[in-house]
């Protein structure tokens, strides 16, 4: 009889196999869950950052509008340097008085856009996400690193 004492080995192999499958399943599901959550968090944080920058640009726009005579000023926009551990870029695109803020994180392959309508012209530019200075001096509003 060659198949004596097989059940112990089989039992052991089955236990190992099932445990491995369960653990792999758990890790895969957990990994996917974490990745999905991270993507969601990055997108929503980029949205919030876009809204904050849009708000600061709108504030600057209002300040530039109440001018009389020579007017100058600067507003500091306190933006975080990282979103969920990864850096991000801000692109300011302008088309007449409509401005679009496009935010891209290096962590995910998506661009989040925030539209903005303004009265004072804003200079189109690309900046890395970090605290920014929004300045105006009679002409157009310029965004640069603080």
């Amino acid at each position: 009889m060659d198949d004596r004492a097989v059940s112990t080995a089989l039992n052991y192999a089955l236990t190992l196999g099932i445990a491995t499958i369960l653990v792999i399943g758990l890790l895969t599901a957990g990994g996917n869950f974490v990745r999905d959550q991270r993507d969601d968090v990055v997108v929503s944080e980029l949205e919030v950052i876009g809204e904050r920058l849009a708000g600061d640009l709108a504030t600057t726009d209002r300040l530039a509008q109440i001018r009389h005579g020579s007017t100058s000023g600067a507003v500091r926009s306190e933006l975080p340097r990282r979103v969920a551990g990864a850096s991000y870029d801000i692109q300011i695109r302008t088309s007449e008085r409509n401005v679009t803020l496009a935010l891209t994180s290096n962590a995910i392959d998506r661009t989040v856009t925030t539209p903005l309508s303004n009265t004072t012209a804003i200079a189109p530019t690309n900046v890395t996400g970090q605290p920014l200075t929004i300045a105006f001096d009679g002409g157009q509003i310029e965004v640069s690193h603080a």
Binding site: L27, G31, V34, E45, V48, I49, G55, I66, G73, A74
Partner: protein, 320 residues
């Protein structure tokens, strides 16, 4: 390789590895949760740059210096001050405003500074005796030019005694008429008479006559530049429809109305050339030098913002 029998320290490797991996997973989840919390925190913060405080500062300057302007122009008990004297007084007042506003904003961690940059001279024309009619200073002329060659007028207000206002006259004809006429003959006229109250009629030159709701009180305030009758807005009384300057402001049938009036114009020569006005406030109607407007420059700084601009202050001037 784990042995099938006997004591071994290499057992349960899968469990250890998976527990470790799960641990890493939870740490990653915690980091992401932290980012999410930070996002919510960021999203729920209000406007942090403090832009509204600049507008607040500017509004406070406008109100305070405007009040000083009105008070100093009206305060001519010491005769007829020169424009320099008036300017000095306004600068002194502005320095006090600077002190108060600076202190107030310092409490909020901001510095605010302001100073008078320039002044526009003008004339203050007024009648303070409420029993007097709207004739010229000698009382001989009922049709007369109050101020000629005027580009801007502000704070033009009349207070009319209803009991002495005639009803037996035709509005815009032989009742009291205030006419604003430019050199091209374009005219904007306001007529006041008694008709179920103090009736204000406005002819803006387009052919149709606008009227305001008749006011019932004994003394009715008609604010020409603000467009109100007894404080109630009247859309027909719209000073922006008056011709652009330079224009003449004239009264017709000034003997058919009694009360007080006051207006500030940007013409400085009214005080020296007007034959119909008294240069002393003892006799009505009088004309005295007045600052028409001042431009105040201001700076405002906080940790997140700096702003420098100026504001032109002409209290009671019609917008547009």
């Amino acid at each position: 390789m784990a042995h099938l029998t006997g004591e071994s320290t290499e057992r349960a490797q899968i469990l250890i590895v998976s527990a470790f991996a799960l641990g890493v997973l939870f740490v990653a989840l915690a980091v992401i949760l932290n980012a999410a919390i930070f996002t919510e925190n960021l999203a729920s913060r209000g406007e942090t740059t403090g832009g509204e405080r600049v507008v607040d500062f500017r509004g406070a300057i406008e109100r305070a210096v405007g009040a000083i302007l009105t008070a100093e122009n009206g305060n001519v008990t010491d005769g007829s001050p020169s424009y320099e004297t008036l300017g000095d007084r306004i600068e002194t007042g502005t320095a006090t405003v600077r002190q108060f506003l600076g202190r107030q904003h310092a409490r909020a961690g901001a510095t605010g500074d302001l100073s008078v940059h320039s002044q526009e001279n003008g004339s203050l024309i007024r009648q303070t005796d409420s029993g007097r009619n709207f004739t010229n200073a000698s009382g001989a002329r009922a049709d007369w030019t109050v101020a000629g060659d005027v580009t801007r007028t502000r704070a033009f207000a009349l207070t009319v005694n209803r009991s002495q206002l005639p009803s037996a006259c035709t509005r815009l004809t032989d009742c009291f008429v205030l006419a604003v006429t430019d050199s091209g003959g374009n005219t904007w006229r306001v007529s006041i008479n008694e008709s179920n109250g103090v009736a204000v009629s406005v002819d803006n030159g387009t052919g149709s006559i606008g009227t305001c709701e008749p006011a019932q009180s004994d003394h009715v305030g008609v604010n020409i530049t603000a467009g109100t009758v007894n404080g109630t807005a009247c859309s027909a009384l719209n000073f922006t429809e008056a011709p652009d300057g330079p224009y003449d402001i004239a009264y017709r049938n000034g003997d058919r109305i009694n009360g007080t009036y006051s207006l500030t114009v940007d013409n400085t020569s009214v005080s020296t050339t007007a034959a119909h006005l008294s240069s002393s406030t003892d006799t009505d109607p009088s004309v005295t030098p007045a600052i028409y407007a001042v431009t105040v420059g201001y700076d405002y700084q906080t940790s997140t913002l700096n702003y420098s601009s100026s504001v032109r202050i002409a209290p009671g001037e019609t917008d547009g």
